[in-house]
């Protein structure tokens, strides 16, 4: 059986089922009559928790099952190619998609587990899980899609779900952030759609492999470069690369903590960085165009430096994490901009690591908010004593993101810096090292202000957060400790190497899918 459509169908189906089932149940409460449409038995307060977590667990298992399967192509609706020209929509699963699926679904599962207790203080869990599952369905769709317009549709599904999730608390600040985020996001979508329209008028097809083949035949012309620039703008906005970053420090801290973890940990990578490199390298075949690579490198360096410097001055824990996300995205984009296999390896590995430690840090900040209702670092202090699990896991994540060996962040940063030296970008490599030290500085500040020092008078009665929240933080911290093993030869050839291979092959992507 083909597993690929399940990645989209399961969360999408569950997202529509949850509100329908609850609505039926309200019917019953009002009229006193059992509704014949209720087939799943009684609705209890826990039903949305159980359904959402089961779906996410299934998705995680499925994404573990597709590791090392080679390339799979699923033609939606069974539309076979006509004279070698693809007609229907393709879903393509290759090394890069597998890596992204693993990231999305593992972080998604842990964030959903965390939500069970965390979301108690919000009123409507059913709608929350609906949006959460839509977000996951959209991101899975983006990484699996082999069709430009289909990618755009899934991107919008994920984006709309994320706008609604940022505004979920409907407090003044959250609404303001959501509005800002959505205006920027819609402008980005406009640029992306314009790029897709131009690409269609140039090639006469929407299938990514087919476009790649046609561009291969005709050579890279002005149109392709212009479309590349439009996509850098559009997806750069979605990924919050530096000149397009303004929405992120507002939007990510305003969302509920598990959603911040999903947005900062996964969303900006799945619909931003992933889509950008997939289209630039595999579809447009710009992997060897010096100008485009140089733009990516410079944008990466600017985000790296500015994000880190802005993070230094923050007092709000979640805002600091958001600026840190911009800085780390800079590392990833810079590594891809190097255009060498080692650079791709560093970029992909840092993408994976950043997903784990940044979502862990956002979950930690959520745990502190849950226990103390406070996000201001200056007012915290000594919390390690009262919240040992949160404190310890936050320390592990901070050390990992700052690149302290032997934690995972050290290895990926090391590879990125080695790749920069190998590509003879010595100045950029030096900047990357310096920013790594600044990263260490601001995470040490977090540790000192929040967890060490004297316990504040107000926090004497603070309790550790409930078990499920602890569980998901502990699992993530174990990932931070252990992800370095992905670089061991046997394991590297299963997950990281196939993903690097996809980017290295560049425009050969077309031949692999069209089977020529």
């Amino acid at each position: 059986m083909n597993l690929i459509p399940l990645f989209i169908a399961l969360p999408l189906g569950a997202a529509f089922l949850l509100p329908i089932l609850r609505y039926r149940n309200f019917d019953k409460q009002k009229t006193g009559q059992a509704n014949p449409a209720v087939i799943l038995g009684k609705w209890s307060k826990r039903t949305p928790d159980i359904v959402a977590n089961l779906i996410n667990l299934t998705l995680l298992v499925l994404s573990l099952m597709v590791i090392n399967r080679g390339m799979l192509v699923y033609k939606m609706g069974g539309w076979e190619p006509f004279k070698g020209i693809p007609i229907g929509i393709y879903l393509v699963l290759d090394g890069l998609s597998v890596l992204m699926l693993l990231i999305i679904n593992s972080i998604g599962f842990l964030a959903a587990l965390y939500s069970v207790n965390y979301m108690e203080k919000y009123t409507d869990k059913t709608r929350y899980y609906t949006l959460f599952l839509l977000l996951i369905a959209g991101m899975n769709g983006v990484v699996l899609s082999g069709d430009m317009f289909n990618l755009f549709v899934f991107l919008e599904v994920a984006a709309i779900a994320s706008y609604a999730l940022v505004a979920f608390g409907t407090e003044a600040e959250e609404l303001e952030a959501a509005f800002k985020y959505q205006v920027m996001g819609t402008v980005a979508s406009g640029f992306i759609l314009l790029g897709i329209a131009l690409l269609y008028s140039f090639s006469g097809t929407l299938n990514m492999a087919d476009i790649a083949r046609i561009i291969n035949q005709q050579g890279i012309q002005g149109t392709v470069l212009f479309v590349g620039a439009l996509f850098i703008m559009g997806f750069g906005l979605k990924a919050a690369i530096m000149p397009f970053h303004a929405w992120l420090p507002d939007a990510h801290p305003s969302a509920p903590a598990p959603v911040s973890a999903m947005l900062s940990g996964v969303l900006i990578k799945a619909i931003g960085v992933y889509a950008l490199v997939r289209i630039l390298f595999n579809v447009l075949g710009l992997g060897e165009t010096k100008s485009i690579l140089y733009i990516l490198m410079v944008l990466g360096i600017i985000s790296m430096v500015a994000g880190a410097l802005l993070a230094l001055g923050q007092r709000d824990f979640k805002r600091l994490l958001a600026y840190s996300s911009i800085s780390q995205i800079g590392y990833i984009v810079f590594a891809f901009g190097l255009g060498t296999p080692l650079g791709f390896l560093g970029g992909l590995f840092h993408l994976l690591n950043h997903a784990t430690f940044k979502s862990l840090l956002f979950l930690n900040s959520g745990a502190i908010v849950y226990a103390t209702e406070n996000r201001d670092l200056e007012k915290m202090g000594g919390l390690l004593e009262r919240m040992p699990v949160t404190g310890t896991t936050a320390t592990i994540a901070s050390m990992s993101i700052a690149g302290v060996p032997p934690l995972s962040g050290f290895w990926s940063k090391l590879i990125i810096i080695m790749a920069a030296i190998q590509a003879e970008q010595f100045i950029f490599a030096l900047i990357a090292v310096l920013i790594s030290i600044i990263t260490l500085a601001y995470y040490l500040k977090v540790q000192r202000l929040a967890f060490f020092g004297k316990l504040g008078q107000a926090w004497k009665k603070t309790k550790e957060v409930p078990g499920l929240m602890c569980a998901s933080m502990i699992i993530l911290s174990l990932l931070c400790l252990g992800l370095g093993i992905l670089l061991l030869p046997g394991i590297k050839s299963m997950i990281l190497d196939p993903a690097v291979e996809v980017l290295k092959n560049g425009a050969q992507y077309a031949n692999l899918i069209l089977g020529e």
Binding site: F149, A172, F179, T186, V187, G190, L193, A197, Y200
Partner: protein
């Protein structure tokens, strides 16, 4: 050619609205204009001069047909645009309830 330029002009007018206007509703209108300009461009991409609807019937087998694919895309994109606009307007209404104004200069509780 003139139509392509006009749709680009519409796009730029929308972008101007988003960047310059201070009223939430006017920003939303700017976004909608941008979207519509893109839809118009997409529909133009599939247009052929003197083309008819792509339905093959008797007497029309050899006629020039416009490309139906972009029209299908535009329909999908309009539905997406409806969803984003509805969400954006509802957020703007909630903002009005909280702040009592549509002016973005006064909606500044988040520090930059």
């Amino acid at each position: 050619m003139i139509y392509y330029l006009l749709s680009m002009l519409l796009f730029l007018i929308g972008l101007y609205g988003v960047l310059v206007k201070r009223n939430l509703i006017k920003i939303i209108i700017g976004l909608v204009l941008m979207e519509y300009a893109t839809f118009l461009f997409l529909a133009l991409v599939g247009y052929k001069k003197g083309g008819t609807a792509p339905i093959i019937t008797k007497g029309f087998e050899k006629a020039v047909f416009v490309d139906p694919l972009p029209q299908a895309l535009v329909l999908t994109a309009i539905v997406i645009g409806l969803a984003t606009t509805a969400l954006l307007v509802s957020i703007a209404v909630r903002i009005y309830q909280r702040y009592g104004t549509f002016d973005i200069r006064e909606i500044r509780r988040l520090k930059g």
